[in-house]
């Protein structure tokens, strides 16, 4: 029973991590090594993601 519970919990964690990665976002990396992640819907993100979509289509 304990094994089943642990397996279920691990599965839920993995599923949530994978789902989180599927959110569209832009990660900006600065020269000092810092990074800012801007998710879809945040100010400025949608314009950048629209350009990224255009690039994906052009590379198609």
């Amino acid at each position: 029973m304990l094994m089943l519970g642990a397996g279920s919990l691990a599965g839920t964690v993995l599923y949530r991590r994978r789902a989180a990665r599927r959110v569209e976002r832009v990660d900006l990396y600065a020269e000092d090594g810092s990074m800012a992640s801007v998710a879809a819907g945040a100010p400025g993100a949608d314009r950048l993601l629209a350009l990224a979509h255009e690039l994906m289509a052009l590379a198609g």
Partner: protein
């Protein structure tokens, strides 16, 4: 001065070692295309224009957020990711590499491969100048 043939070779090496990269373009700071995997010239030109616009607008967003200078970015979409890396050349001007990948790439590995490609071009241009 870097020869286009050197850049084409660096691009061929990159696509050979990095299976995650789908298309790539290497661009000088003035917007001239050094090499690209996109066969159609007009599509390649547009790809580079849009990549430079993405970098410019990402830099503007970076300033708004008060971050230090932008060196690279990843824009992750459901169809795949776009990577852009900017690096100063030994001669002083910037050089940019833009690439697309399949969805869920190994981000660190893609950045490493793109930066390695730019570094190899630095070595070639330094050797050519000597």
């Amino acid at each position: 001065m870097l020869r286009r043939m050197d850049a084409a070779q660096a691009l061929a090496d990159l696509t050979e070692i990095s299976s995650q990269v789908v298309h790539v373009a290497i661009v000088e700071g003035d917007g001239s295309v050094l090499a690209t995997t996109i066969g159609d010239a007009s599509r390649a030109e547009r790809f580079v224009q849009v990549a430079l616009t993405l970098l410019e607008e990402a830099d503007a967003l970076r300033q708004v957020r008060g971050l230090p200078g932008l060196s690279q970015l990843e824009a992750a979409t459901l169809d795949g990711s776009v990577f852009v890396v900017r690096r100063e050349t030994p001669a002083g001007g910037p050089r940019i590499i833009a690439a697309t990948t399949r969805p869920d790439p190994t981000v660190g590995l893609v950045f490493y491969d793109l930066k390695h490609c730019l570094r190899s071009l630095d070595v070639l241009s330094t050797a050519d100048a000597a």
